[in-house]
Amino acid sequence: MNRIRRALLAALVFAIARPLAALAAWNKEAFSAKTPGEALKSLGIGDAAPAKDLHIEAPEIAENGAVVPIEISSAIPGTTALIVLLEKNPFPLTARFDFKEGALPFVKLNVKMAETADVRVLAEAGGKYYFAKQEIKITVGGCGG
């Protein structure tokens, strides 16, 4: 009896702990990558096609690298994820947004940029990847001091 109860309890704990672990997932390997290529590899992303339906709205020149506003949105049907890379930051991968039923593929956020660089945005739609790029000129970098 006791053994059955213990087994059931273990199964229950396992069932509860699993979704919690999934919720807190953070891709350490991808976020620790030092180049955009390595980051994409860690995310399991190979080829990506350029897409006009993937929009980046960001300033051409940002005076303060500590707060650079970036708005990203995808009009590619079935977009389920948007990924942001700041190509010349020490750790380029900046964010990954996974959209479930009920959310539109749109995000506005502020980021820190070390120096003038391209922001690269990737979209995942139907198992395929698409990308768009825009250069942002930085007058004063926002990563160190």
């Binding site: 919720l23 997932a25 930051n89 991968l93 990954r96 749109f106 995000v107 956020l109 820190k112 160190g144």
Partner: protein, 104 residues
């Protein structure tokens, strides 16, 4: 600076609900030095979750490159007055915070 309270506003747009959320967080990169020349350890939000009426609609993983006191805008499909929106975050120290609002 420690992590602190959040603010959120949700308003109805045309065909979508606009969610704007502000988090109080230092978002330390681990590269910055304090006045004594000592490196300030990394402290940043890693996970964000947006829920609509109790159901997760958006999961995000973010890095230390997101600006201090992060502000995010998200858009949810459709929406109606009374919809309940919850946003929560979790940082690399295991600290977390959440805020809930009702679409007005």
């Amino acid at each position: 600076m420690a992590a602190g309270p959040m603010k959120m506003r949700a308003s109805l747009g045309t065909g979508f609900t606009d969610v704007r959320v502000l988090m109080t967080h230092p978002m330390e990169t681990g590269l910055r030095k304090d006045a004594d020349g000592k490196v300030v350890p990394q402290h940043f939000i890693q996970n964000l979750t947006v829920k609509l009426n109790g159901k997760t609609v958006l999961d995000a993983q973010i890095s230390q490159a997101v600006s201090r006191n992060p502000v995010f805008s998200f858009r949810l499909k459709g929406g109606a007055k009374g919809d309940k929106i919850e946003v929560s975050w979790l940082d690399n120290h295991g600290e977390s915070a959440a805020i809930e609002t009702v679409v007005a």
